[in-house]
């Protein structure tokens, strides 16, 4: 049994691998399971035949022929016509199985064959990997199993040990462990794409970000903002670490978020924002002036459009080189120390790091973005000409500022056709650029917020690529992703837009609010000529407009923006299609089963009867000594059935003494005669089989009493000649 299993360890996987490759190359018109079944059956029968004795081989061949004949007869009886052309695949399968059996047998016996075939299997796997040849996935594991078994066998052969080192038993015992490896691997579903190592990259970047945050807090580096990706990169995973950064004191009773801008960025490279512009133009102040002038010029009830508020910001134990302030800043007053900051490219930076525990009072303009009046203003407000310009700052300066804004925050972006079509659907019927962007903002609100979006692929290298990837492929991200997409789409519409990082503080009423690092946020701001910068909130879940009462007309009502369906990509579960082949079950015709079985049984009975007749005839022709030996061997076999097997290295006399108590001395008298027949110099005629015959009868009676089934087998088998 061990020898059979050992050979089959090599034959079966080799045959299955070979047939899989052949099937992959030629595409046989038969279900894969049937092909495997035939291959397994052929190799199994051949291996069994090789390990049987002649008599048993003949019996097995007879049984197979009988069953085949029975199937044929059953089919004929059922008037089923057998079309040979439907089974043309059988011949190559059986041939491959046969040659695989030969090769597998050689592998089992010769080391160099084993190594050669294993290397060949390795090469075939490599060719498959590179796409040169193809085959059903499961057979990869047959090949791998074969390679590992060969390796384990070679390890065993070269390993010098004492004790029981039989190669075949060792390998048969090791095979279940090897098979468990392959079976577990075979049950896993594998992606078709190479591994992107996202987890490890996320861990690495997370560790870097954490290190950066630590260095931020201790002023170890040039970065000063706690909670930001200082270099403006859009990261694939964020960790919410909450740490007190600032405290804001406001006397405003408006329930609205307060956006404290930190870094203003103007250039996007597909993966992150940079601030290229470092001009000293006071964008924040100019923005406040432009907006107020425009709103005052538009309506006498400009207080319904904007109001000036003041806040005090206290910096806690954090070193930062950025001054946080709302965008439309009218004044900044640092309460301790002299003013040592400047504005570069819209960003307020300290010349050196801020001192610890200092405060700054700021005044800024807040827009009533949720009011209908503001909506109308954005739609109908005209550009500011020199006549309406009423400021201490010259109109020429204003013009230079406008040119600066257009030159710095504009970008020509070409959208893909699909994205253009989707945007067209969103913008369709919008009455103004502002309304378009409000619709876009509403559409973004229905997308998916995620702190762990997929990393932006390397092939994204510009704004167009990013928009296609984010809106048509990924569809998820956090504030930076949405702010980026919104700003780029605004630019695509021809409107200057910028990407702002800072803090978003939810204000409910007047009082003091602690700003923590997890309030770090990014949002887009769009420049409308003659009106100024307007901030938008495209990040899902974060929208909360600013509105205050209209005075005698009650609460302001924002003209309703048409409800926009989420036209951008929703999450795709990406279910893998099942590709298992469907194996058609054959009709079960009872006679196909019954007839072969009957024929097989008939054959077996006939075989045993014939076998007994042949044995009896042969027995008669034997000499007395040979008869004695035959009967003695048979008696020993019966004793084996009874559980008294001759042990290795045990003499017959020792054996007899050992089992005498269990069997009885009267049934063991043949052993002495047998010993004499084997080892003594007595003439052949002196040894008679009579005692052995008597013992045989007694042992058969014992066998019948104790183990009836084995007794029946012995009756059929006859003498062991």
């Amino acid at each position: 049994m061990t020898a059979f299993l050992f050979d089959y360890l090599y034959i079966a996987p080799l045959a299955l691998t070979a047939i899989s490759y052949y099937n992959g190359l030629t595409g046989m018109e038969a279900p894969a399971a049937l092909i495997y079944a035939v291959t397994t059956a052929v190799t199994l029968v051949l291996t069994i035949l090789a390990h049987l004795r002649l008599k048993e081989r003949l019996m097995l061949i007879g049984i197979m022929l009988a069953s085949i004949a029975g199937i044929y007869l059953a089919l004929v009886r059922a008037h089923e016509l057998i079309h040979a052309e439907d089974y043309h695949w059988l011949m190559p399968v059986m041939l491959i199985a046969f040659f695989s059996y030969i090769a597998g047998s050689l592998m089992a016996r010769f080391s160099y064959v084993r190594i050669g075939v294993s290397l060949l299997a390795f090469v075939m796997l490599g060719l498959t990997l590179f796409g040169i040849i193809a085959y059903p996935g499961l057979s990869v594991f047959f090949a791998i199993f074969l390679i590992i078994v060969s390796a384990a066998d070679e390890v065993h052969i070269r390993w010098r040990r004492d004790g029981f080192t039989d190669e075949k038993t060792h390998m048969v015992c090791a095979a279940p462990f090897i098979a468990s490896i392959v079976i577990i691997a075979a049950f896993i579903r594998y992606p078709e794409r190479p591994y992107d190592w996202k987890l490890f990259i996320d861990i690495y970047e997370g560790a870097l970000a954490a290190a950066d945050r630590i260095s931020f807090g201790f002023g170890a580096g040039e970065d000063g903002i706690v909670g930001f990706s200082e270099d403006g990169r859009l990261l694939s995973g964020l960790e919410n670490i909450s740490r007190d950064v600032l405290s804001v004191n406001t006397d405003s009773d408006i329930e609205a978020p307060l956006y404290l801008a930190g870094i203003v960025s103007d250039s996007f490279d597909g993966h992150g924002w940079k601030q290229i512009d470092d001009s000293l133009i006071s964008e924040r102040n100019m923005d406040a002036i432009e907006g107020t002038i425009a709103m005052r010029a538009y309506s006498e009830d400009y207080r319904d459009l904007y109001r000036e508020e003041k806040i005090r910001i206290d910096y806690m134990d954090v070193k930062s080189k950025y001054l946080f302030a709302p965008s439309k800043l009218t004044s900044v007053n640092i309460t301790s120390g002299k003013e040592n900051f400047t504005e570069r490219g819209g960003t307020l930076v300290f010349k050196r790091y801020n001192p610890y525990h200092f405060s700054v009072n700021e005044r800024f303009i807040r827009l009533n973005t949720e009011s209908a009046d503001f909506y109308d203003f954005m739609r109908d407000g005209a550009a500011l000409d020199k006549l309406r310009w009423s400021s201490t700052i010259s109109y020429d300066s204003y013009l230079k500022y406008k040119e600066h804004v257009k030159g710095t925050y504009s970008e020509e972006i070409k959208l893909s056709d699909e994205l253009s079509a989707r945007l067209e659907a969103i913008y369709d019927g919008a009455g103004s650029e502002y309304e378009k962007l409000k619709r876009l903002e509403a559409s973004f609100q229905k997308m998916k917020y995620s702190l762990n979006p997929p990393e932006i692929p390397d092939y994204v290298s510009d704004s167009s690529g990013y928009l296609d990837y984010f809106l048509l492929d990924s569809g998820e991200g956090y504030c930076s992703y949405y702010a980026t997409a919104f700003a780029l789409l605004a630019r695509e519409e021809g409107l200057p837009a910028r990407y702002v990082q800072g803090y978003r503080v939810d204000i409910d009423k007047k009082g003091t609010y602690t700003v923590t690092s997890d309030m770090a946020h990014a949002w887009p701001e769009v420049y409308f000529e003659g009106k100024g910068w307007v901030a938008f909130e495209p990040t899902p879940g974060f929208y909360r407009g600013t509105a205050w009462g209209r005075g005698d007309e009650g609460d302001a009502v924002m003209p309703s923006v048409p409800s926009v369906d989420p036209v951008f990509l929703e999450a795709d579960t990406g279910e893998i299609e099942e590709t298992d082949e469907v194996y058609e079950k054959a009709d079960t015709n009872i006679s196909i089963i019954l007839l072969p079985v009957v024929l097989m049984l008939f054959f077996i009975m006939a075989f045993f009867i014939l076998n007994r007749l042949i044995q009896k005839r042969s027995f008669k022709g034997l000499s007395d000594q040979e008869k004695l030996k035959a009967i003695a061997r048979d008696n020993l076999a019966i004793l084996g059935f009874l559980g008294y097997r001759l042990a290795d290295g045990e003499t017959l006399d020792e054996y007899r003494q050992r089992i005498a108590n269990g069997i009885g001395a009267d049934a063991l008298g043949f052993i002495t005669d047998y010993e004499e027949a084997l080892y003594s110099d007595l003439p052949k005629s002196a040894i008679k089989p009579d005692t052995a015959l008597v013992c045989n009868e007694r042992l058969m009676r014992l066998l019948k009493e104790r183990k009836r089934f084995k007794y029946m087998l012995r009756l059929l088998a006859g003498y062991n000649l």
């Binding site: 990997l129 990869v140 040990r161 004790g163 038993t169 490896i181 691997a185």
Partner: protein, 392 residues
């Protein structure tokens, strides 16, 4: 094993490269299989660790050092899977297994056992672990191995060896058995002996001295010494078992060998050791020797023994000075030992000190006096290893 591990690491790196550039069943399957191999190997090792059975015993009620004792051990596999590589490691500090080395690795197929019958040799007297110390198991791919300590080690109590000395190199036994000095002049009641420092000058026999040119003192009847004394110093000088076991073993072997030697020469032997007082063992017959041997076999060496008290006790013990010669077997030939020797010399007793130890052992073949303290005291260095026959 290292080669197999390197191959596995190379394959794993290759698989990682494959999955980084190629998707599909081949690359990921290869990676998964290579990653699972060490996991399954470790699981296999744990299974073997849990299921492996080992039996050992030695058949001798009493183990004598340096004598072979029958030792058996059985490795057994009662499971359905093979134990690919099992190596048995024996305790080797103080014992060895005859004919078996630690290099042999065994394989056990399902439901098989290996039984080895061999011999155990314990080198030193004492109580310590012998036999199988640990078992190292390797997996079928020779990738990993686990060594686990035998949870039920065999503890052996070993008694010292009885060494029969053919001769004594450090002292002339015939002389010791003689009652008279060969240099003495026979007077009816007075004999003479050579002058020793410290002798009373009034006892100088001027006539003999003038005749021979050497100083001789009168040796009155009743002054003749008889018998041999053996002082066994039972101080333990080191707390490390690997150090003190060989020393104590040698001390006891030497003492027993000396006692046996002189008993066989019909010379009375008195053995002295100190516990809370001086204990004397008289050895002049087989029975008394047996009692002495049993006592030595169970002798406990004391690391806290006060040297000063011990020497004082010996010097205060009258019987010691009545020996013709005293053998002192000690792990430390310190000033106290010299003082004791001097005291004995003044009482006309010769002293031979055997300093047992391995510091600067020197030549173990020929016995040379390390220090000649005086004409009546000799100091010999006795290493812990080597045949005692040539060392005493």
């Amino acid at each position: 094993m290292r080669r197999n591990r390197i191959i596995l690491v190379v394959l794993w790196i290759t698989s990682v490269v494959c999955i980084s550039f190629y998707g599909g069943t081949v690359s990921y399957g290869f990676f998964t299989v290579v990653s699972l191999i060490p996991v399954v190997s470790l699981i296999y090792l744990l299974l073997v660790l849990l299921r492996f059975k080992i039996y050992q015993r030695f058949e001798c009620p009493e183990i004598v050092s340096n004598h072979v004792v029958p030792f058996y051990f059985t490795l057994q596999n009662e499971d359905f899977f093979a134990f690919a590589g099992v190596r048995v490691n024996f305790y080797s500090d103080f014992s060895e297994i005859d004919g078996l080395s630690d290099d042999i690795e065994y394989e056990l197929l399902p439901h098989t056992k290996i039984r080895k019958e061999t011999g155990l040799i314990c080198r030193y007297r004492g109580e310590y672990y012998v036999g199988i110390k640990s078992v190292t198991i390797r997996d079928f791919l020779c990738l990993f191995q686990i060594t686990y300590n035998n949870g039920e080690p065999l503890r052996a109590t070993v008694v010292p060896d009885i060494i029969k000395l053919a001769s004594l190199k450090s002292a002339d036994a015939e002389v010791l058995s003689s009652r008279e000095s060969s240099d003495s002049m026979q007077y009816p009641d007075v004999t003479v002996r050579e002058y020793m420092r410290g002798d009373d000058v009034r006892q100088i026999n001027w006539k003999q001295s003038a005749r021979t040119g050497k100083l001789y003192v009168r040796n009155y009847a009743g002054e003749e010494k008889d018998g041999v004394g053996i002082i066994i110093d039972t101080r333990r000088k080191d707390n490390e078992q690997a150090v003190y076991l060989p020393v104590e073993n040698r001390i006891l072997e030497a003492a027993i060998a000396l006692a046996l030697f002189f008993m066989n020469k019909n010379i009375h032997v008195s053995a002295y050791c100190y516990k809370s007082g001086v204990e004397e063992h008289a050895v002049d017959s087989a029975d008394s020797f047996d009692r002495f041997y049993r006592s030595m076999a169970s002798e406990v060496f004391d690391p806290d023994l006060d040297s000063a008290l011990m020497y004082a006790a010996f010097m205060g013990y009258a019987g010691i000075g009545e020996n013709k010669i005293v053998f002192m077997v000690t792990p430390d030939a310190d000033d106290g030992a010299m003082e004791l020797a001097g005291w004995l010399n003044r009482g006309n007793t010769d002293v031979i000190i055997y300093h047992v130890g391995n510091d600067d052992a020197g030549d173990t073949e020929g016995l040379e006096p390390e220090v000649s303290v005086g004409p009546h005291t000799k100091l010999y260095k006795v290493p812990t290893e080597g045949n005692l026959e040539g060392l005493l």
